[in-house]
Amino acid sequence: MDDVDRALVNALQDGLPVARRPFDAVADRLGIGVDELLARLQRLLDRRMLSRFGPMYNAERMGGCVSLCAMGVDAERLDAVAELVNAHPEVAHNYEREHALNLWFVLATETPERHAQVLAEIERESGCRVHDMPREQEYFIGLRLAV
């Protein structure tokens, strides 16, 4: 990854305009051609440094429901509980973190009803309480790479 790649990643995180040729302005700013920009972007995607380039959806506006969920699980049961949580396709990220609440996952469902259903299933399967914390406000961001 060189400085041009890093500047490209920063620019892409800010978002591109909806336009016939959406890459042109960024390519100009970086002083490279569109073909080179696309080749660099493809390489970053191939190396899995970036997720796909495309629309970031607002799940709630689509009628869906997203929340961050936390559970406090006994250490010896953590792997098993993580596995049963992961078995739900609506679970995205799932991390072990250093805290009494040690299992943190993102639950994204099509409807609020389905959300409640999956939470209840996970509580029943694990025997652990799930703390469900939907986003109330987002203050955005991105990872700024030093160029």
Partner: protein
Amino acid sequence: MELSDTDRALIAAVQEGLPLVPQPYAEVAAALGTSEPDVLARMARLQEQGLIKRLGVVVRHRALGYRANAMVVWDVPDDAVEDTGKRLAAEPCVTLCYQRPRRLPDWPYNLFCMIHGLTRESVLQRLQTLVETQGLQGVRHEVLFSIRAFKQCGARYATTRKQEDYRGVAHG
């Protein structure tokens, strides 16, 4: 929010990513059997309506070497949470910042931010600088480093009965 069938087909067509060509919407339009201006108008409308937040990428922090990943959580008085959230989000080391409900008595924190770094030491150092520069010494907070990632895929989100994946919804 009511979506037309064409809007749904468009969302399904671009959810795995836009074609990496100079005019991606022309290619999408050809696949959908419509015109480039029609696709552009629909994309612009979805963005105006807020269904699409932006067109961009999500950085895979770990792949870039940012292996230390701390969720820093703060118990901010309700009347100060918006101001504090905005100030945290403006800090270059903060990659995400959300307000969420407290879950008392187990969980007293209402503001969540992520700080990524190459090492734990660098994350803690950045946090200390942030606390000092933002005057947050009096705000109770905790640092939850991640230990293991059990699952790490783009959130799957379906709005159709076909259970299509809507990738690109991340981080709750």
